[in-house]
Amino acid sequence: MPFKPVPSRRDLLKTGAALGALGVASPLIGARAFAQGALTVGFIYVGPRDDYGYNQAHAEGAAAVKAIPGVTVIEEENVPESVAVQRSMESMIEFDGAALVFPTSFGYFDPHMLAVAPRYPGVQFRHCGAVWQEGVHPANTGTYFGYIGLGQYLNGIVAAHASRTKKIGFVAAKPIPQVLININSFLLGARSVDPTITCQVIFTGEWSMAVREAEATNALIDQGVDVVTCHVDGPKVVVETAAARGAYVCGYHANQSALAPALYLTGAEWNWATLYTNFVNQALAGEPLANFVRGGLSDGFVKMSPYGPAVTAEAAAAADAVKAEMMSGGFSVFRGPLYTNTGTLVIPEGTAYLETDIALESMDYLVEGVIGSTS
């Protein structure tokens, strides 16, 4: 008995016109769904709430929402990207009356959130990471994300100043666009200081695999890498292992400076509190919620950890100067001519992508200077 719960992916591709504009609000959604002055908000995490990383960053955002009067926050952790998340969303809505749901892991979007949302038109769904498209995805759904690649670019600048071997390293989970943007940004930031720097990447293949993350960190350092950053769900193991070997560390997701006080340079952190409180306040006020939200440093979606003691004044000044440019807008991390590490020209001379460019969200290459491959 075949049925069609979601628009097929071919439909998605047909309407593939990029939605660059920030904050495309759907007129269909209204304040009706939200009872005035009271709101139950659901958060779903793919891992433990306190992983020193991705999920903790979201949980800290949820904690900020709890402080808003009239708002009830309900949370579930360790929810797999399977039928389980669909049932969790339903349960939050039916049993607890959640009117706004934030499934925070990328894999929750298609097909899971897209399967549940059409059955609850009165409930708003906002998903972290995917690209919402008008006419393709239900009007009561939407997506948000932050340009944390900017933070990795700044990490790269600081790393380049700290590195003596001119080799920096990246422990990554999987070669997906969100990770590739970070690796490339880290290298490009470093190369903006010293064009001879290379960045070695090791993919662990899993979002959370403690021993392999430690091995990857050790393998990088054995190759002479002296500054390490990462993109895995919980960076704790990478940070501690690198610090134990005496390498500098740039953090990711959250502030890990307490794990390596002397060697932590800076870090690219999420700051979801801003975004979540905005969404919830809008919902409380009965305003329509935006369906496609992106933001970077200037929007307060992303922030940098305070510089550690090993960061020189020169390095801090260099990073701060670029950060100021990013804050005022118009700074492009990805600008031509840009070659991949297999020699293909991906961005021609004269072209520059702002971080808001939707084309970056399907990145499938590593830039020249990164040692590693996407498959």
């Binding site: 891992g47 392999r212 091995e215």
Partner: protein, 335 residues
């Protein structure tokens, strides 16, 4: 001094990886060898390992933190400036953590052993249920210990003579690894040459013979399971207190379950357990090490190297006729 090792990094990583990664496999498989020699199998050691990792880390942190607080309070009471100490300043607390993990592990073992002493209760099934319980209780009580930093177990620099920093780091050996090697040899000897070893083997090979000799079968098996549990607890504490050296819910990627399987691979021989653990540890380092020297494709397959290699070796060394040579006769899984 940093040296560019190039491809030499791969064999070095295999050796270093074998030393770093093998210890939990070694301890769990040695412990399980004792248990299985007595004729029982405890598949629940994955749960025991994870609980050992949690309780070892948590207790090491709490003890270290208490000592640090005491030192600070003492200094303040004497009017001195408070010393810059934290839980991490007390490696002795980490050793206490290991001890507590061993005790906790033995409790899990006793429970498993007692339950399986009941008639008609299947030891494999109880093991799996205990695995669930151990993991659950570790995660349940482990939440507050994810963020704090516990002290690490100290390591012994065996290659301090080397100018090459990578070599020095690869041969930073934890005392537990050495204890594990010693234990493997001692167990190998004890199984053959001591009265205890004999009792264990008789009970494991033939319950009837053991009964005829007047041994208390259930007591022997329960004690053997308790010792196995203690070893698994130590293996877990190694994970959280040394390498990778932190507590989180993803700390084990199946080491406990795999180590139980390695016992069969090692044919209940403690020395072979050591080699199996070394093989597993070394090949676990292969994937990341190869990527680091530029072999970047197919890393999923390289990461599966320990499993593929172990399977290959098993197929190569097994034969139909001596299917289970060395297997304790009473063992449910090989009967």
């Amino acid at each position: 001094m940093d040296t560019d090792l190039g491809w030499w990094a791969v064999p070095l990583a295999l050796i270093g990886g074998a030393i770093r990664i093998s210890t939990p496999f070694l301890f769990v498989s040695l412990g399980e060898t004792i248990t299985e020699k007595s004729g029982r199998i405890n598949l629940g050691l994955e749960g025991t390992l994870i609980f050992g990792a949690m309780i070892g880390y948590g207790m090491a942190y709490l003890i270290g933190d208490a000592w640090a607080q005491a030192a600070i309070n003492d200094a303040i009471a004497q009017g001195l400036p408070p010393p810059a100490v934290s839980a991490r300043s007390y490696p002795m607390a980490a050793w206490l953590g290991v001890g507590i993990a061993a005790i906790a592990g033995s409790l899990f073992g006793v429970v498993h052993g007692l339950i399986c002493s009941l008639k008609r209760v299947n030891d494999i099934a109880v093991g799996i249920a205990m695995m669930l319980f151990g993991m659950g209780i570790a995660f349940y009580f482990g939440k507050p210990f994810i963020a704090p930093a516990a002290p690490d177990l100290p390591s012994i620099p065996f290659a301090a003579w080397s100018d090459v920093s990578q070599v020095r780091d690869a041969f930073n050996v934890n005392a537990l690894f050495i204890i594990g090697i010693v234990l493997a040899v001692v167990l190998w000897w004890a199984f053959r040459n001591t009265r205890l070893g004999l009792i264990l083997r008789v009970v494991g090979d033939s319950a009837d013979a053991a009964r005829a000799l007047g041994y208390n079968i259930n007591l022997v098996r329960t004690l053997a399971t308790a010792v196995g549990g203690a070893f698994a607890g130590i293996g877990g504490a190694f994970l959280s207190l040394y390498y990778p050296g932190s507590w989180n819910e993803g700390i084990s990627s199946g080491q406990g379950l795999m180590a139980v399987a390695l016992v069969i691979f090692a044919r209940w021989n403690p020395i072979a357990c050591f080699w199996a653990a070394m093989l597993f540890g070394g090949t676990s380092a292969l994937g990341p090490a190869l990527q680091a020297v530029g072999v970047t494709g197919g890393y999923y397959l390289f990461n599966a190297a320990p499993y593929i290699l172990t399977l290959g070796l098993m197929v190569a060394t097994s034969s139909r006729n001596r299917a289970m040579a060395g297997a304790p006769g009473e063992l449910s899984i090989t009967r």
